[in-house]
Symmetry: C2
Subunit: 198 residues, 2 copies
DNA sequence: ACAGGCATGATACGGGTGTACCAGGAGAAG
DNA sequence: CTTCTCCTGGTACACCCGTATCATGCCTGT
């Protein structure tokens, strides 16, 4: 049997339509019909590739995660010193450019969904932050052993705090209380404090 | 003309039913009918007191804000030294006890709503954080002038960062990645760092 | 060439949503 | 006692949702 059309390509096209809607209008506006219209296909097709809506939501979330990871690897790739890696990890999540604003907004759209859901979706979204925190802590420890961070600092706790702060800063930017630039400035200030050796 | 029933009391009763649902099942489950059932009144009554759903949502949000403010004033009231005030401000937002978990969860339920909304609701929710940040900065400045914080610190930026961090920590607790206790420990660690004098 | 199955389109179904409408009860004012 | 206004209940309307069903096209392996 041969595939007339590229299945994966179709799935991608539809899932990205979902993400586009989630970004611009929020997930509550992302009905099956709306996604179909946005993707330029029939409603039946959306049902065909993702049997249920939950399936579509899950698949799109996985793609969003992949996009974020790709972006992060791109940012980290340009970094050399440990501190630059740390800055890359944290600032690439901040909604400073169009891409990160889109990703952050879409993640925020999912946020409420995963809260009221004890099911798999919660587990799906709870893993990335944990491994990210571990990675960040490892980088901080490296910087600490290189003497760029005070040896008395608890880098694990610092990593958790920084990640939470970036998350909160992102929310404030999305809420319109702050500029992306301002958020970045606040982050840089705290990194300066952390990387201060006595 | 006399009021057969206390209007304000009825409004409160209905609005709190909405908040209860938003807390336990999320705002998307808070239909007019569900709110009516939860409050033990007829659907028509909900319509009568809050003509439209947006009105109900707005009123309930205002009440939630008042609850949070009351809680904060209660916590601040027990504080004496400037550092205790700072700790009170920040930790009272963290979902550590039942009340704050309820408030935080309900706020989170509103979060997505205000994002996809350019209208009044966004303005309604954007003000409190700003004044809170100003207040926190003022407390930090006081502590700084009292010599408890290094004079070279930028307390304004520190306040913004701390608030964002608490916000992010709250999200992580709600997401189930962390315990309320752990979040509090992370916050305390960073406060210790901030209040370290050379 | 032709049969089989994958891919797609149109439409139906049951349910839930916010809001609007109509009717009646109860108390105060005349 | 009547009348009028405030309050409350029941119910209808139009719409949108996710999913299921039926029908048909078209490619492909033999």
């Amino acid at each position: 049997m041969t595939v007339k059309v590229d299945h994966e390509e179709r799935r991608r096209q539809i899932a990205e339509a979902l993400l586009r809607i989630a970004d611009t209008e929020g997930l509550q506006s992302a009905s099956m019909r709306a996604v179909a219209a946005e993707a330029g296909v029939s409603l039946r097709l959306v049902q065909y590739y993702f049997t249920t809506k939950e399936g579509l939501l899950l698949d799109a979330l996985a793609r969003l995660g992949a996009q974020l990871q790709a972006r992060m690897e791109r940012w980290i790739g340009e970094a050399r010193a440990p501190r630059e890696v740390v800055t890359a990890i944290l600032s690439c999540i901040l909604p400073t450019d169009a891409e990160s604003r889109r990703i952050t907004r879409t993640y925020a759209a999912y946020y409420t969904l995963v809260l009221g859901d004890t099911a798999v979706l919660a587990k799906q979204a709870a893993q990335p932050p944990a491994v990210l925190e571990g990675f960040l802590a490892k980088q901080l420890r490296a910087a600490q052993e290189a003497g760029r961070i005070d040896a008395r600092r608890d880098v694990g706790t610092a990593a958790a705090g920084l990640l939470a702060m970036v998350n909160g800063l992102g929310s404030s930017v999305l809420g319109g209380q702050r500029d992306g630039e301002e958020a970045l400035a606040i982050l840089t200030y705290h990194l300066d404090e952390l990387f201060r050796t006595p």
